[in-house]
């Protein structure tokens, strides 16, 4: 089972929930940080990294001795990454999405593959859990291509050693967030009971609904603002799987880089119940799908 921990609004506690779930998970599990722009999970799980690889995207390199400046490549490119002006062909590698269209369509076979660095993929172990993360290169604008490569590594690791995975997703509700959760079995939305938390939670719910995956909510800092988030969950039939109380001791533990299950037995129990709730949600969805099939 792959569980994604997502949020809409940033700073609601995705990483806290991912790290805590990892430490209390009762079986082989891999913690995956797909928030490649600002990965934080390693700060709490403190993994031992066994291997790191640079990740690249394929970009065009033009052999001008073969180029006839016909402009077929630039006509196709949707991202303004290759441009032909009179007897000049220019590439803009940072704009390239790596679709390979220009290389395939060039009638002179004048374009070959070069590469642009996206960032780094690292993996190893954190206690009993496996660990995997991506880290975007500073100045690189596109996170989805790196996320796709981290997920390909995740598939390999799961194929080699069957295990569950907990994905720490990026904030927001646009393409990076959707890319993170799209291949998971269960989506957990972490929110806080404030107007900002509610608004972004609604956006996230709307964005992830078309994926038709079982979803559950975790309300962090419960007791902080108001209770509209509960009304929304009830309206949409979205189960609230856990509530983490608004408590300065938790905020301070987090600020020290602690995993909050260490704060008290009561907090640990919240995450044990959450884990059971996630399993339950996945099973019920699975049996409903089976009934439809």
């Amino acid at each position: 089972m792959i569980v994604s921990v997502a949020s809409g609004k940033g700073g609601t506690g995705k990483t806290t929930v991912s790290a805590s779930l990892t430490t209390i998970w009762d079986g082989p599990v891999l913690a995956v940080d797909l928030d490649v722009e600002e990965p934080n999970l390693h700060l709490f799980l403190r993994p031992t990294i066994e291997e790191s690889q640079r990740a690249y995207i394929k970009i065009p390199v033009v052999d001008e001795s073969k180029c006839t400046y016909c402009g077929t490549c630039s006509d196709l490119c949707q991202f303004k990454a290759i441009s032909v002006v009179n007897k000049l062909v220019l590439t803009f590698p940072e704009m390239c999405h790596g679709c390979g269209g220009c290389i395939a369509i060039c009638p002179e076979k004048a374009i070959s593959e070069g590469k642009r660095e996206l960032g780094e993929i690292s993996w190893g172990g954190a206690g009993n859990a496996g660990f995997l993360m991506g880290r975007l290169r500073i100045g690189e604008a596109m996170s989805p291509p790196l996320m796709r490569q981290v997920k390909a590594r995740l598939d390999k690791m799961i194929a080699k050693d069957p295990q569950d995975a907990i994905i720490d997703a990026p904030p927001g509700v646009s393409c990076p967030a959707v890319n993170a959760v799209i291949d998971s079995d269960v989506i957990i939305l972490v929110t806080e009971p404030t107007p900002f938390g509610l608004y972004d939670f609604q956006l996230a719910w709307e964005a992830f609904c078309p994926l038709n995956k079982p979803m559950g909510a975790v309300v962090n800092r419960a007791g902080l603002g108001n209770d509209q988030i509960y009304n929304f969950c009830q309206d949409k039939g979205l189960p609230v799987l856990a509530e983490i109380p608004f408590d300065r001791a938790i905020a301070e533990a987090y600020a020290r880089g602690q995993i909050i299950t260490e704060v008290s037995g009561r907090i640990e129990q919240i995450f044990i119940d959450l884990r059971d709730g996630i399993r339950d949600l996945a099973e019920r969805h699975g049996s409903r799908e089976a009934a439809y099939a």
């Binding site: 722009e37 196709l76 500073i138």
Partner: protein, 306 residues
């Protein structure tokens, strides 16, 4: 660099239009609550919410829309199953895993489609259509603190740096048309496409951080990003009392790099209280927190004027 004419005649001549973006790296550090308060405190400005993906500033400023525009960007492949001959070339050439075969033939998954047109160009049956996509709306609005330019991307859409550029362009034009000399922007979390777009042409990025391992880690990355694009950088440590050791580390980082510290703000429930009332914190009865915020804004104005 753009110029606007100073409002009260010619005595002070022409003055630079300035652009400030409030960013954070890590989400949830208080960016939007602080931007809302600065929108209250600043004069002669256009307010601009560049977090087009999960915007929240409108929840505090309650803008009334004066103008609403559709935002169209990019294209999306769609296979016409009547024309499709099921050769599978499209699926084999798609580098984004967006095309799959099912009982009804080949289908494009719109959530994975990158809009690159490769399948369209290589389909021998010319069975793939390529319509333009509407990705959201953008708005010009009025608020109790002045004009505001903002947007909402449709959930799940491509987080377009292009939409950020549209907003910035509109905000600059509005500022010019109304003789306003400041564009005050709320930025997005992260260091990717929308953040990079929000930094272009900006004079000062103010990063709101918190004394946690994540806050400091993400601050360092966003500082490097601003260095990479040569944008001025200042720091606000929010909730500084949560972890005094981590606050010291952030202070040391800033002093090493020569980044001015615009404020230390305490962890204060008054911020959430204001949010629940859809107000900004400086509109509530005066507290130590709001007094500190006034000083903070004065320091930022000084930094921007440099």
């Amino acid at each position: 660099m753009e110029f606007v004419t100073w409002r009260n005649g010619t005595a002070r001549g022409r003055r630079l239009m300035r652009e400030v973006v409030i960013i954070s790296g890590k989400g949830g550090t208080g960016k939007t609550s602080l931007t809302g308060a600065f929108a209250h405190l600043a004069s002669n400005k256009v307010i601009c919410d560049l977090d087009v993906d999960a915007p929240d500033l409108h929840l505090l400023l309650r803008p009334s829309h004066q103008r609403e525009e559709e935002f169209w960007s990019g294209y999306e492949a769609r296979i016409d199953s009547d024309l499709c001959e099921r050769c599978g070339i499209c699926a084999s050439m798609c580098r984004f895993g967006a095309i799959h075969e099912n009982d009804n033939g080949f289908m494009v998954d719109p959530l994975r489609c990158e809009g690159c047109k490769v399948c369209v160009a290589f389909c021998p049956a010319e069975a793939i259509k390529f319509p333009q996509k509407q990705c959201g709306h953008w708005y010009m609005s009025s608020t109790r603190f002045g004009p505001m330019v903002h947007a909402q991307l449709f959930p799940g859409e491509e987080n377009s740096g292009r939409l950020v550029m549209v907003l910035k362009q509109q905000a600059r034009e509005l500022a010019k048309a109304r003789d306003l000399d400041l564009v005050l922007c709320d930025g997005a979390p992260g260091i990717g496409c929308p953040v990079i777009s929000s930094l272009s042409g900006t004079h000062l990025a103010v990063a709101v951080t918190e004394p946690t391992p994540s806050g400091r880690h993400d601050l360092e990355r966003v500082a490097d990003l601003c260095g990479h694009f040569k944008v001025g950088f200042a720091v606000i440590i929010n909730k500084y009392d949560l972890n005094p050791d981590e606050t010291k580390r952030i202070e040391a980082f800033c002093s090493d790099r020569g980044y001015p510290l615009a404020a230390h703000l305490p962890h204060d429930p008054v911020v959430t209280q204001a949010m629940v009332q859809t107000k900004v914190v400086t509109e509530l009865p005066e507290t130590d927190f709001s007094r500190e915020l006034r000083l903070t804004w004065a320091r930022i104005e000084e930094l921007v004027a440099r």
